[in-house]
């Protein structure tokens, strides 16, 4: 549907990729670890290797959690924009299929959060 309006109604979206200085927005969520209240949002260069994303970005965001150091990354399960996904650590974010405003979610089997509360 289009907007009910008094005249022509077309505007530029505010969050087009070119507004982010060469980065693309990436949304990230560590599932069932709600100590972090919500998924996070970061502007990342599309050429960043996925390995660096795991080692630098994810640890920067989540390492305060006592479960973080227990993560077995080989067992982690991922989805990208709603579909199952196996990342290639050597390839870039873009080559792994991440676009502007992609949502990446990961599950870490066996880790149940603070006192088993999924926090």
């Amino acid at each position: 549907m289009s907007v009910t309006s008094i005249g022509k109604y077309e505007f530029e979206p505010l969050d087009k990729q070119e507004n982010f200085h060469g980065n693309q927005l990436t949304y990230i969520n560590w599932e069932q670890h709600l100590l972090f209240c919500a998924p996070v949002c970061l502007p990342l260069p599309p050429e960043m290797p996925f390995g660096a994303f795991v080692q630098e970005v994810l640890s920067g965001v989540y390492s305060k959690h006592p479960d973080f150091e227990k993560i077995d990354w080989d067992a982690a399960k991922w989805t990208l924009d709603g579909a199952d996904f196996t990342p290639d650590l050597g390839k870039s974010l873009a080559d792994n299929g991440l676009g502007h405003k992609s949502l990446i979610r990961f599950w870490t089997p066996g880790l149940k959060g603070i006192a088993g509360s999924h926090s």
């Binding site: 505010l14 980065n23 998924p39």
Partner: protein, 505 residues
Amino acid sequence: MAEKRKKKMGIKQRYSMLTRGLGWDTTYQPMDKVFPYDNYEGIIIHDWEGWEDPFRLTMDAYWKFQSEKEKKLYAVIDSFAQNNGHLGITDARYVNAIKLFLTGVSPLEYQAARGFTHVGRQFRGVGPRVACQMQAIDELRHVQTQVHSMSHYNKYFDGLHSAPHMHDRVWYLSVPKSFFDDARTAGPFEFLTSISFAFEYVLTNLLFVPFMSGAAFNGDMATVTFGFSAQSDEARHMTLGLEVIKFMLEQDERNIPIVQRWMDKWFWRGTRMLTLVAMMMDYMLPKRVMSWREAWDIYFTEAGGALFADLARYGIKPPKYADIATKEAEHLSHQAWHIFYNYTHAAAFHTWVPEKEELDWLSEKYPDTFDKYYRPRLEYLDKEEKAGRRFYNDTLPMLCQVCQIPMGFTDMDDPKTISFEVSEYKDDKYHTCSLGCKDIFDYEPEKYVQAWLPVHQIYQGNCGGTEIEDVLKWYNFNMGADNMEYKGSPDQKLWDEWQAHRKKA
């Protein structure tokens, strides 16, 4: 004929002079050109005279009535200041509810004044036009009296110094701000459905009752008094809300689906905004009134249920997703407080972990969920804080494109898992927190692609700089005073000194 002194007119007659008597049909220009906004939304009005004035208040009666209330209110405000009323509150933590109100709600009164001034020009029917103009004056009065009542706290407590500035900039205040921006940029009938009906009629008891009884329970007489002083205004506003709905529904049955869609939309946007009230009730009042769950059951499920049963004769159904909202009442306050606990370093009020008896109260009020999902987390946070490692989330959150709240709400049938919705529009993705928000986006994507999402704006470099400190300066925060944990805050230190002093005396 000699002028004979007429008998004094009755109120009904005087009101009709003020409205119908002062209106006329234009002849130099067609009415459609003079009132271009009142038919583009698709609402069909056959007879503007079918509008029944929900209240008949003439200007002279209005001034008289309001000035009497004003006199009483300012007498109380003065004596509150002279008698150091702030010392009578239950605990300094309470003032954080005032901070939230002054930065989040009072600016909405001003937005309401702007909105009603606008629609008070745009209806060709003189009845609704005058009703809206009078409400605009009320709303201006509300923002003034609220600022005056709360300014006393600003002398002693942090975070109250820049409410309008913060309202326009701070991330969580974009939630109420965008709500009203959305309403004010809609047509006049949608504006009245959103503000007069959904907000003031259906949901108002969930906003004002908790704040005002919260104030009464916690010794805040200044706030209680402005609440009382606004009450008779609010009663008028509610009748306007109901009248506009009935008017639209009675004029033409083609109006029904439009009104239904607006109700669905504004009910959902309204409940999202009430998230702030939910956490205020369950977490911020040192002396609690009732739980959010209880308030929801009384004021929405029961009272709202009766209202929608009444509207069924027009073919109106209860708001879509009312069932989800009712499930949310179990979780909303805990999830919202956790969001603010995560990001208190970027908020103009303090958060804390409730004390043990307060946690027990929550366990009792939420027996099926609190101990399972929320208490262990709060106890962990408490332990961390006591060990000198107060937890803050260092990365900015993902926001909902529509309600603009961080995506901290879970699937209500699975409180372990965040709820995600997404829409594609012109090659871009737009994420929403719920089916309610997604529906709103999908119906008018062109409107919501323009959303000013604080997190994205920060990353674009539009909020004072790239470092969090720069952003907080741009918000006008006094760092280390307005923001951060309550324990150890200047607010708490001052309060503790006063208490120690009192004990000595």
